[in-house]
């Protein structure tokens, strides 16, 4: 089960006080779908405006990135640059 941290302020309107979840998800797509199932509205929020850090590596704008069975996943705002 991946450990998914949704404590970021951007998730709060959807998850309330929930901070960490154990989820059975193997890709970012699966994560988006599962979070949407549990907290309606969070799916599009994550897909459009957020990035995920999987075991420390930040990924964004991808369905395909794999999530391991013991991965730590963190939801954070999308990153840009200049």
């Amino acid at each position: 089960m991946a450990t998914v941290n949704v404590s970021n302020q951007m998730c709060r309107p959807f998850v309330g006080t929930v901070q960490v979840l154990e989820l059975e998800v193997d890709t970012v797509r699966a994560l988006i779908n599962e979070l949407e199932r549990l907290f309606p509205g969070l799916g599009p929020q994550l897909e459009e405006s957020m990035a995920v850090a999987i075991d420390g590596v930040i990924v964004q704008d991808t369905y395909l990135e794999p999530i391991g069975p013991d991965s730590e996943v963190f939801l954070i705002p999308k990153i840009a640059g200049g």
Binding site: N5, S7, N8, Q9, E48, S49, A53, D55, G56, V57, I58, V59, Q60, D61, T62, L64, E65, E72, F74, L75, I76, P77, K78, I79, A80, G81, G82
Partner: protein, 763 residues
């Protein structure tokens, strides 16, 4: 694509060949945006608001239109009204409706320099003359410039529909605060009780402009069939295409953007200002239109980065371990929301291993140009404050500031203040290298009478991004290779692309030429920014080169009539392998290319990817200064930039990024700022009074490249371009503090401000 590994012998990557586009850059032939001329071209000038905040009551263009030689005049009504739509653009979330309103004002002007109309005429001189005849009736409103003014009770509100996001309960009254953001780990408030020593201070920075030497420029040709061509300087030809399509209500396929050479961007050219106006004018006039900003327009009308107010509080135990940290960052966004307050908060404490930390902030609008990205947006601002505070902590504890950082340094497996656990980072390596360096361990030398010398150290972090990139590799009929990159080259990336392809193909880099493709000639690439091109587009190019290499082997097998897997590629040649080894002479690229038709067709591969896993970058800078007690002038005596660069594909260009970024940071620290008068007008829209560093201000910038390879890139590359601007302000401020005993919490530390601080201390 995974890292090929430390044991792979590299022949080209890591060397310093001359860039493929170099000669035309030194002989004046390279074509930048303003160098383009097309048949039938006319010229346009923008009419800009002289008021910081005003309602537009009417615009009368009749006198302008009557001028002989004027072909078209546009106002806000000539761009379609588009709905509010959030999008993630170069520097972060943005709104297309707001972008359109920034490009040309609708009912209100929100800053001195805001575009209200544009005139196209047969010469630039006539366009300028006619622009002066556009009559705009304004109802001048009260304006606000600083965040304090914008947030004050009763402040004039820029947008009636702005209700602060991220606060609970949601406000019912409109204000200038667009949003609040927060990142926390543990409970910093409670953890301060554990601290033996606390430092707490407020810091202020001013907006600074990216100050690229090339003003914005474009030539746009709109044809009656609805198709358009754009030649422009930008950080992203696909971004220009997409934004113009959105703002003008056109299909993306109807616009073709040719990226010209770009004379500096640093984030400031990750969006559009002139292109949508030129499109509308070209459509209205039926002629191609050229638009170039003057330097004054660049300062008045294009986005600087935010200035802000930062409140930092750090608590530590006597042995130097930081037990609690808090940072509040209030950033100006300019006329529309979108300051980089999020990344400012996320990066503030990213160098440190902390369990109880809170970083929060506000995005505040005010009557200045809308901010645009500038190298590691947000990070230099919050880092200036935090790294100054860490230095103050070191002084209070009587500890060496480098050692204090080492005690608290983020390492592999450290939980970052913004959440995730960090992996494969090289921060400690940069610290240890800096602390052990000849620079750090040497004496400062005796200061002449009336001057004081000091040394400062500071560190910094930036995420770096990957993203969508495209590239292609073509083997030409004579065996030379053409590589096409999807990204404009702002730092020498063409050289690195060619080097990676040459490495994969085992040939000399001189046989590879790299060009930047236009939007119709190469696959989609996200813009050049976020330090992503060598990483992501490099990966796409490498992948396409590998496909070509595999195809070359297949062709060789066909030529020799052996099994495809019985061929290996070595030293730029196909060699028969296994039981056929030695039976035929090796085939070079030109040998195989000569038979490309017979073996299946042209030898080419393209690659479009979404590269993930860009490695974050860390840097530690050391700065020696000499402060003149009488004038307050600060001279930089010596500067060393140490950075974890992953793998330096072309070391000279990596060094160049480190040196350029450090010097921009020095300018930010010592001199650069916008000076507004009481009417909210910019008093210094030129290089005379907006003082960027010049050659005589600086010593050589020493660079130390630490290579901790990124396992997610075939050659281990990480982004390097943005991190170098993050530490310098604090490094300089800490050096001045070391020299004078005074903390400098406000930027810029220009001579009048330093002198005032020295005088105040004497009093």
């Amino acid at each position: 694509m995974n890292y090929l590994g430390k044991d792979v012998q590299l022949k080209v990557v890591g060397t310093r060949p001359i860039r493929p586009d170099g000669v035309e850059k030194v002989n004046g032939r390279a074509a930048f945006g303003a160098d383009v001329a097309v048949s039938g071209m006319i010229h346009a000038k923008v009419v800009r608001s002289p008021h910081a905040h005003a309602r537009i009551k009417s615009i009368d263009t009749s006198k302008a239109e009557a001028v002989k030689g004027v072909s078209a005049v546009i106002t806000g009504t000539d761009l379609p009204d588009i709905p509010s739509e959030e999008a993630f653009v170069g520097e972060g979330p943005a709104n297309f409706r707001e972008m359109s309103h920034n490009v040309i004002a609708r009912d209100k002007v929100l800053y001195d320099g805001h575009a209200v109309a544009a005139v196209a005429a047969t010469s630039a001189a006539i366009a300028e003359e006619a622009a002066r005849l556009v009559e705009v009736e304004y109802e001048v409103l009260q304006h606000v410039i600083s965040v304090e003014e914008a947030m004050a009770d009763g402040a004039p509100v820029l947008h009636d529909d702005m209700f602060t996001q991220g606060v609970d309960p949601k406000p019912t009254k409109a204000s200038n605060v667009a949003k609040r953001v927060e990142f926390k780990l543990g409970d910093s408030n409670a953890a301060f009780a554990k601290a033996d020593v606390i430092v707490q201070r407020q810091y202020k920075t001013q907006p600074v402009h990216q100050a690229y030497i090339e003003p914005h420029a474009c030539v746009v040709s709109y044809n009656p069939d609805g198709q358009a061509q754009i030649w422009c300087s930008s950080q992203g030809q696909f971004m220009v295409r997409a934004f113009c399509a959105k703002l003008l209500g056109m299909d993306i396929a109807s616009i073709r953007v040719m990226p010209m050479e770009i004379g500096g961007g640093f984030g400031g050219k990750t969006l559009v200002y002139l292109e949508p106006l030129a499109l509308a004018l070209s459509k209205k006039s039926g002629r191609p239109v050229k638009m170039v900003m003057s330097r004054e327009e660049v300062f008045r009308g294009s986005g600087p980065t935010s200035g802000g107010t930062i409140n930092v509080k750090i608590g530590a135990t006597m042995n130097g371990r930081i037990v609690a940290a808090e940072c509040e960052t209030i950033l100006q966004a300019g006329a529309f929301p979108g300051s980089p307050v999020g990344p400012a908060c996320m990066t503030a404490f990213a160098c440190y291993d902390l369990t109880d930390v809170t970083a929060f902030g506000y995005d505040v609008v005010s009557n200045r140009p809308k901010v645009a990205a500038y190298r590691a947006p947000g990070a230099p601002i919050s880092t200036f404050a935090v790294e100054s505070a860490v230095d103050e902590l070191a002084q209070k504890l009587g500890m060496d500031p480098g050692e204090l950082r080492l005690i608290n340094a983020a390492k592999d497996e450290t939980k970052a203040a913004y959440g995730p656990t960090l992996k494969n980072i090289g921060f400690v390596e940069t610290l240890e290298s800096a602390i052990a360096s000849q620079h750090y361990t040497s004496g400062l030398g005796e200061a002449p009478k009336g001057k004081r010398r000091g040394r400062g150290i500071a560190s910094g972090f930036w995420f770096n991004i990957g993203g969508e990139s495209s590239g292609a590799t073509y083997v030409n009929e004579d065996g030379t290779v053409t590589v096409v990159s999807g990204n404009p080259d702002i730092g020498g990336s063409r050289a690195s692309m060619g080097m990676m392809a040459a490495e994969v193909l085992g040939i000399e880099v001189e046989r590879v030429r790299t060009v930047v493709g236009d939007t119709a000639s190469v696959g989609y690439s996200f813009l050049t920014g976020g330090s992503r091109v060598t990483f992501a587009t490099g990966m796409a190019v490498t992948q396409s080169a590998e496909e070509v290499r595999d195809d070359l082997c297949r062709r060789a097998a066909l030529i020799w009539e052996i099994d495809a897997d019985a061929v290996e590629w070595r030293d730029g040649h196909a060699h028969p392998a296994g039981e056929n080894a030695g039976k035929s002479d090796p085939l070079s690229l030109s040998d195989i290319a000569a038979k490309s038709g017979r073996t299946g067709g042209p030898i080419a591969a393209k690659s479009s990817i979404n590269a993930q896993g860009a490695g974050p970058g860390y840097a530690t800078h050391i700065c020696d200064v000499e402060v003149d007690e009488e004038t307050g002038q600060v001279a930089i005596l010596r500067y060393t930039a140490v950075q974890d660069v992953g793998k330096a594909i072309h070391p000279a260009y990596v060094e160049g990024q480190m040196q350029g970024g450090a010097v921009q940071g020095i300018g930010w620290a010592l001199n650069e700022e916008y000076i507004y008068n009481k009417d909210g007008r910019l008093d210094n829209p030129g290089f005379l009074d907006y003082r960027v560093p010049v050659a005589s201000d600086l010593p050589m910038i020493e660079t130390v490249l630490i290579e901790v390879p990124n396992p997610r890139h075939p050659f281990g590359a990480k982004g390097v371009g943005e991190v170098p601007i993050v530490p310098p302000m604090a490094a300089v401020a800490n050096a001045i503090s070391n020299a004078t005993g005074l903390r400098m919490p406000n930027l810029p530390m220009s001579p009048p401000h330093v002198r005032a601080a020295l005088d105040a201390a004497k009093a």
